[in-house]
């Protein structure tokens, strides 16, 4: 069953499009990574799914219904980001009480254990927490509420490396025990990729790729070798990324659709073939230019 369905979604702020003709279908009970650069429209898309933003065009359906102002959606969705603003008059333990009241699947034991493990002070006010602590608490809230649709928008902002690892591990373990649809957005893929099932790449308000993570890892292939040899065999259109290693040597990432003949040809000409790491690939695909930072410094 498709839990999220967006058709030609537009969202315009003033004169600028945050989402433009975005179409996407997400299936139930998966962990989906939403990857894009800052400003690509990740937050706008996620907030639209959470019913907090009205799209200016197109159609969005979550659980088969329009999410805006929808009680059923609200009861089954939690949206977690680092901007969550709780009542200034409530302490952490009071917020937990409120969450338990609202969310049917709330697991108090899990919340209490995580709070204890991560060392969040129950008697603090939310705005007294440090940035990392606040993110940790928000993430705990997102986990313990066990909503059928759980959305984490850049959940690890401000967290330490070890806390991030712990959080992703906790997310995976709780997902294994209670499968549900979890969307995690990030501008970085590497720490996240192992727990993902699917990946969605978004660039300039458009969904440019939606694949299973395993397919994504085989999506591209890296070629390094003689510039002329590679350019003679590889079609220019399929080049995703290009980096000059030296005068004559070049590294190129291409769509993994080369024919057997091309592959043997390249191999025979001494071109090295490597797989492209998912994190690198996502970066290549979401970058605006095909080259890298080196191109900036290249004297023409």
């Amino acid at each position: 069953m498709s839990i999220v369905s967006c058709q030609h979604l537009d969202k315009k702020y003033k004169k600028q499009y945050a989402l433009k003709d975005l179409t996407i279908e997400l299936e139930e009970n998966r962990i989906i990574g939403l990857i894009g650069r800052n400003g690509a429209g990740k937050t706008t898309l996620l907030k639209t799914l959470a019913g907090q933003i009205v799209p200016t065009g197109g159609e969005v359906k979550v659980f088969g219904e329009n999410p805006f102002n929808n009680l059923k959606l609200s009861a089954n969705t939690i949206y977690v980001d680092d901007q969550m603003q709780f009542s200034l008059e409530m302490r952490i333990h009071e917020i937990l009480v409120a969450a338990e009241m609202f969310y049917e699947n709330w697991n108090r034991e899990l919340a209490d254990r995580l709070i204890y493990y991560f060392g969040v002070d129950r008697y603090d006010f939310h705005d007294q927490l440090s940035k990392g602590m606040a993110s940790t608490f928000n993430a705990i809230l997102g986990l313990a509420s066990r909503c059928p649709l759980t959305i984490f928008d850049e959940p690890t902002t401000g967290m330490d490396y070890s806390v991030r690892q712990d959080f992703y591990r906790a997310l995976l373990k709780d997902y294994i025990a209670h499968p549900r649809t979890i969307i995690v957005s990030s501008h970085l893929l590497n720490e996240l990729e192992s727990i993902l099932e699917e990946i969605v790449l978004i660039k300039n308000g458009k969904c440019i790729l939606h694949e299973s993570i395993e397919d994504f890892k085989e999506y591209a292939i890296g070629l390094s070798g003689d510039k002329n040899v590679i350019q003679s065999i590889v079609d220019h259109d399929v080049i995703i990324h290009e980096k000059e290693l030296s005068e004559s040597q070049v590294y190129i990432a291409v769509d993994n659709h080369l024919s057997e003949k091309d592959i043997t040809g390249l191999k025979q000409q001494g071109v090295q073939m490597t797989s492209v790491e998912a994190a690198d690939l996502s970066m290549f695909l979401t970058n605006d230019t095909r080259g890298g930072i080196d191109d900036v410094f290249k004297s023409s």
Binding site: I53, I78, S87, E89, M101, R146, P148
Partner: protein, 243 residues
Amino acid sequence: MSLSHPDLWSVVNKQFKYKWMSYKSVFQGLMIAQIIAMVFSLFGVASSSMGFGFIDLNIQYITGDFVFFFTCLWAFFISVALDRNENRLADQIFVTNSWSRHLANVVFIVIANMIGTITVVTASFFVKMIHIWIFGIDGFIFFGEYTLPGMLIFFIITFFYLILFSSLGYLIGSIMRQGKLIKFGVVLFVGGPLIFTDNSYLIPLFQFFGDESSVIWFILKILLTSMLAIGLTTLVSRRLEVQ
């Protein structure tokens, strides 16, 4: 994972509880407003002077009027702030939609105003008692007897005044949240004349409610005005996204 299908009223109920938990300061505000009003009342609530022959008679009225008016202002301001952006953001973390939020706000206003009413009535007697304790009972003239019907009227009229102020505050708050320019406009066109004119244009408004001596008509007027205000509020904030 099975979906939960919340019904509106259970969500309203939960949201009310949530507000009850999260707006502790509303009642601190009530107490502070009323305590300030009671202190002011120690100097007499209103006085009028007149001359009998050549005796200049200064009459000091001891009533709970200050408490009443301060509580009306309290009702107004808590309602302006009730649906403010920070609160909508805080609401939105948990289960809500605009209907449930407005209904929960209305329930909250009604219950807060019930508490407001009971404190207005009792604080009025508190003010009188303090005067009597300080100056002794012999120095006073007593007008008006608190009979059972009188007390009922006291409660009912006070409660509906608070509801009136609250619903107007709720409406003005929602209009102000439509945009920075509108906020500025509201402050300019509502606040400006209040400060810089003699407010004579408000007299018909005050007379509409304040000169109504029929309880039934009074309640009807307030109910209609309040429902209109809250209806307008839901209309105004219908497609308001949280920024």
